[in-house]
């Protein structure tokens, strides 16, 4: 409860700070629109030459890409500002400030800063999903939308966990920054995992779980998922949080602050 209040306060304050620069907002909007638009054109071109991509049709692929864009926006807004170049903060001993505050350190560390402009991208993603739905021409039952939302939340959690875990590596290997690698791996979520051959598909499901981040929620919306898969996803999200907590606690023991 307190964490929720804190989150809201941080978000509101960051938003206020961001809104002070109008030109930045405009720029962000244009950039996100252009990137999303040209990616959609790419999808269109692909489907002008085939009607199935890893078993997915055009409107399904569009919905998948929309989901991917939404999650990218969430990542950009709530997680990236906290963990970008995390290794430098470790070296500079800047975790100290988080440790002396009477609130969960993992929360302050990984969700304590927001960049609200990233939500522009999430909104664009939602519009793309809506467009994908209208492309299909089918009627979507409401419960599928609810399952999609649930799985989207799970996906957001997994995104947060994996991104923070990648950052925390620098507690064990000082100076190792895998930010670029995570960005790269993230891109594989644009397309359904069924498209990749083994063993890439296995890696993208269990090691870098982009399957759970984009493919599963999008599938839930387009064709529905079995209760088993829904349960497995929820369990996966829960286990992910537990793993992150454990890793953070043992990483904290390795943290020796900086010299000043």
């Amino acid at each position: 409860m307190k964490l929720l209040r804190l989150s809201c306060a941080i978000f509101a304050m960051s938003l206020k700070a961001d809104l002070a620069h109008r030109s930045n907002i405009l720029f962000q909007v244009l950039l996100s629109l252009a990137a999303a638009g040209s990616s959609l054109i790419t999808v269109q071109i692909i489907f002008s030459r085939t009607d199935h991509l890893g078993g997915w049709t055009l409107h399904e692929a569009v919905i998948l890409f929309g989901t991917f864009t939404i999650l990218g926006g969430i990542l950009l807004t709530f997680v990236e500002p906290n963990v970008l170049w995390f290794h430098q903060r470790v070296i500079a001993g800047q975790l100290d400030e988080v440790l002396v505050k009477p609130a969960p350190s993992l929360f302050l560390l990984s969700l304590g800063r927001h960049a609200p402009l990233g939500l522009v991208q999430a909104v664009i993603g939602a519009v793309i999903v809506a467009w994908g739905i209208s492309l299909s021409g089918d009627a979507f039952p409401v419960w599928r939308g609810l399952v999609w939302l649930t799985l989207l939340a799970v996906a957001a959690v997994i995104t947060w966990v994996t991104r923070v875990l990648v950052a925390l590596i620098s507690l064990w290997v000082p100076g190792l920054a895998l930010d670029v690698v995570y960005d790269g791996a993230w891109q594989f979520g644009r397309y359904p995992v069924t498209m990749y051959r083994q063993p890439a598909r296995f890696v993208l499901t269990w090691v870098l779980p982009v399957a759970f981040i984009t493919t599963v929620p999008a599938r839930a919306l387009t064709r529905g998922v079995s209760p088993q898969l829904l349960g497995a996803s929820l369990a996966f999200g829960f286990v992910a949080i537990m793993i992150l907590r454990l890793v953070w606690m043992s990483g904290l023991r390795r943290y020796t602050s900086a010299t000043s």
Partner: protein
Amino acid sequence: MDRTIHVHHLSMTYRVPVRQEGLGAALRSLIHRSYRELAAVDAVSFDLFAGEIVGFIGPNGAGKTTTLKMLSGILHPTGGDADILGFQPWKRQPAFLRRIAIIRGSQPIGGPVELTVMDSLRLQQLIYDVDDRAFKRNLGQLNAMLDLRTLLDRQIRALSLGERMRCGLALNLIYRPEVLFLDEPTIGMDASVVETTRQFIAAYCQETAATVLLTSHYMADVERLCRRVILMDKGTVRYDGDLRTLSERLSPYKILRVSLVGAKALDLSSFGEVDEAENGTYDIRVGRRDVPSVTARLLADFPVTDLAVLEPPLDRVIDRAYRTGVA
């Protein structure tokens, strides 16, 4: 008096990676890192009582900051124990963290830098569960003492060093901590800000009866604020007690400052070592026990217009202590 801080045999040993020069060594260190143990704090014990302001001094690398980090829960010690307000610091219980603050001159403000000072204060209010009435009251007081008015709506990113420190103090004192760890709070401040800060710390402690452990390399800070000092060197406590006693013990002499009629240079070295002489005013070093007799002789032999007995400057005393150790 209530004991607020009890430290018993506290120790911290860092494991620092070492690497020889050269490429070969660099490659070898990829596979097998070698470490050296560095005992930064070695079995330190002391007690602090409610309302005390204690100076925590020692040369660079003595282990002061490391001790403060352990006492505020940032570091887990490798040995020993500490009890602050009934808590073990490194368990980092919220109830404990709400009652202490560590303020460091080297990084006075953590957290997001694009927020304004007021927003950051509000955030602190939420994190530390300060109710609105207390917040308003405390802010009013801090405002009056630190003159924050012009800073409240500025972004932290754009503050100058001294402004940052003032805001850092405000951010950490808005929740009225009972125990304060101040690590070189006056570093990099201009003369008048240093003075206000000292006054402010004194006033805050007077009012709230907070317990303070203060590190500083400026002896003026220590002299102004602390009666008691703990002197550390190479990870161990070398002295713990009255500042006055320390300086008496370290410097068995006083300074006699005499002004004589006429600007003619005189040779007074028969009374003691002459430290400084200008415009007819002389600083003579005299053994503590000889002060009365030397004074009497001076008054008898010379046309003295003014005479004062001074303690030797603390800076020099401490400098000697750092160099030669406390006997």
